[in-house]
Symmetry: C2
Subunit: 186 residues, 2 copies
């Protein structure tokens, strides 16, 4: 099993806020570091950071410049290898276009959400990844906005905990998903 044809997308819009309104969320430095490190460890092909705000895009590019070209690249080359996976896009569709171009095939977008029962199991997704490029969408804030669920894309079964409490950080959910998909374990 290889996850090279799988990309992960971290959405900062359209997402929900704590009141359930659709908003743009701010980029969190640590989301980029953590998800890039997990994606690199499990062998994903790309990590798209989606934000429509030009100022936020510049912020991500500045961070990347520090770690890929600046002082950070020498200080921590392992971090550089992880952050090299990142591309910044304005919208999900831009990310899909880019991944389609890179992979030379139509990517399957997969939605995720802590409250989503889902219609695609991890096993289903593993088979799908063997057959076509794919793209897992993760929401920041209080999750992906309904307008993306309206597009009819498959929804990954949520990660169930021990009981009804289910508030994993997006950084943790991403790591668990990659681990479940790669299944490189005894």
């Amino acid at each position: 099993m290889s996850l090279r044809s799988l990309a992960v997308v971290l959405l900062h819009a359209p997402v929900l806020d704590r009141r359930g309104d659709t908003v743009l969320s701010a980029v969190t430095n640590l989301d980029l570091h953590d998800i890039a490190r997990s994606a690199k460890t499990f062998g994903l092909g790309r990590f798209y950071v989606v934000t429509p705000l030009a100022e936020q895009q510049r912020l991500v590019l500045r961070l990347l410049d520090h770690w890929l070209e600046g002082h950070g690249a020498e200080y921590n080359p392992k971090r550089k290898q992880a952050l090299e996976l990142i591309r910044v896009c304005a919208t999900v569709d831009d990310a899909l276009d880019d991944w389609r171009r890179e992979q030379g095939g139509e990517p399957l977008p997969i939605l995720t959400g802590a409250a989503q029962q889902g219609n695609m199991s991890f096993r289903d997704l593993r088979s799908a990844i063997g057959q076509q490029p794919a793209m897992i969408l993760l929401g920041t804030g209080w999750g992906i906005a309904p307008e993306l669920y309206d597009r009819g894309w498959p929804v990954l079964c949520n990660i169930k905990g021990a009981d009804e409490y289910n508030h994993l950080p997006v950084r943790a959910a991403a790591a668990i998903m990659f681990d479940r998909l790669l299944q490189n374990r005894e």
Copy 2:
């Protein structure tokens, strides 16, 4: 399967720094939030934050006060439920003593490390958890110092990625371990 008799310990000493020297690391706010949320989601019984520095201990207690008693408790009750799992200890042995008292039985300490082949599989640990209280030790910085490996405690098999790159954040490694241990999935 229940992980109620399992505690997680986040060590800030003795740990290694990037040069391989044994040092004390500083407490990172986000480690506490992320590991507490993952521990709560997967139903662990306790989250020990170990640091021998009184000033760092006070910092953790201030953070807990904000989220358990102060403004944070009203603002985000779910975060409160997670952070309630935290206890601050000066040493691993203090954490072991506390967990022994709470569980009324001798806890099994389990070491972890990204570079450790390990002598205990996740399957072994699952069986052990069914039989006695247990405690997973996670290192910050560049990992747990050799003096703890010298104590002869079992070492959990490391989380293998796609190839030789293996630099998961401790926050991500914790989430993956809990998920693998609970195995609540289709």
